[in-house]
Symmetry: C2
Subunit: 160 residues, 2 copies
DNA sequence: GGAAACCACCTCTAAATTGCAACCAGTCTG
DNA sequence: CAGACTGGTTGCAATTTAGAGGTGGTTTCC
């Protein structure tokens, strides 16, 4: 039972996912384009997260209402992690973090593309992306614009 | 020499201040209304930061170009920490974090006011706040609108 | 039907970080 | 010149992290 350090909303947000890995895990699920299993999250994470850290964060994030744990109908043992509305509501935060990183750090050109698309698209694209995530993770209707597709094509264009 | 985990802008941002205390320290200097000294930051921090942690974070943030260390002309020993442009550029991030905290955590009513004012004011008020911070910390001209004054009066109104 | 691959973690260990309380030397104030 | 104030530092215990390897069960392939 960890009592809260203070009732400041910024502090409470920080207490929820203000460590070096939680947002990385959320980012991977968010931009991964589908709900994800443990192995795929572990293998495809570019920062090389350790399996015990990943297990711990998935547990915490699920406990804090940011992730859902679902069964895979085709595999009794497999667990599928999906985003909740609370996590989807982090899209603006991730977008703003990406923008700051673009301006004040030296990101690799290919990995910067996603952040650049979100910055250029602005709040309107963020909303479309959130709709898309509700479609993917919560079963809502598919939106007209696919932010993920925009990022994909921007990435493909940059490589060519 | 810690080499970076990846070139993703979100990750790089996280590596810069993605721990439980860095943003708390920045928040205190940002909303404190003036450049701040060590003792004042230590004594007025509501989360009860420890002095060694504060010293470490001030060192790191200064090293990362987010804070400036200035002398106090009236006290040879005193050091005044101020924000750099890089840190002032975090206003949107803090605002968005505050908004998320308002919606998804249970902040105390008085401490939520600041976040609420920033949310209601939107990007336009954020810009005014950033101008104000440039005035306070970088010696730029004073802006017409004072976001800090808005927060103050909203706070006063809420108490009455 | 047996082997190999895949599944979500768990265990162990060492290293790093955190939190706490006490302490310090120089500086200004009454 | 005593006491309060300055920005820290030191030592220590507890927690967290990182890395390597292992576990028990499931599904797939031949």
């Amino acid at each position: 039972m960890n009592r809260r350090r203070s009732g400041c909303p910024i502090n409470l947000t920080l207490e929820t996912f203000g460590d070096r890995w939680s947002l990385i895990v959320l980012r991977d699920i968010m931009f991964g384009g589908r709900p994800r299993g443990f192995r795929s999250l572990l293998a495809e994470n570019i920062e090389g997260i350790a399996s015990n850290i990943l297990a711990d964060r998935l547990k915490r994030l699920t406990g804090n209402g940011l992730l859902t744990r679902g069964d895979d109908p085709g595999h009794k043992q497999k667990i599928i992690y999906g985003l909740t509305e609370k996590a989807i509501d982090l899209v603006p935060l991730l977008a703003v973090m990406g923008s700051w990183g673009l301006r004040h750090t030296l990101p690799s050109t290919t990995l910067a593309i996603r952040a650049q698309v979100l910055e250029d698209g602005g709040p309107q694209l963020w909303s479309a992306f959130m709709e898309e995530l509700r479609h993917i993770h919560l079963g809502a209707a598919a939106p007209e614009i696919s932010a993920l597709a925009k990022m994909q094509s921007a990435y493909a264009a940059a490589i060519a």
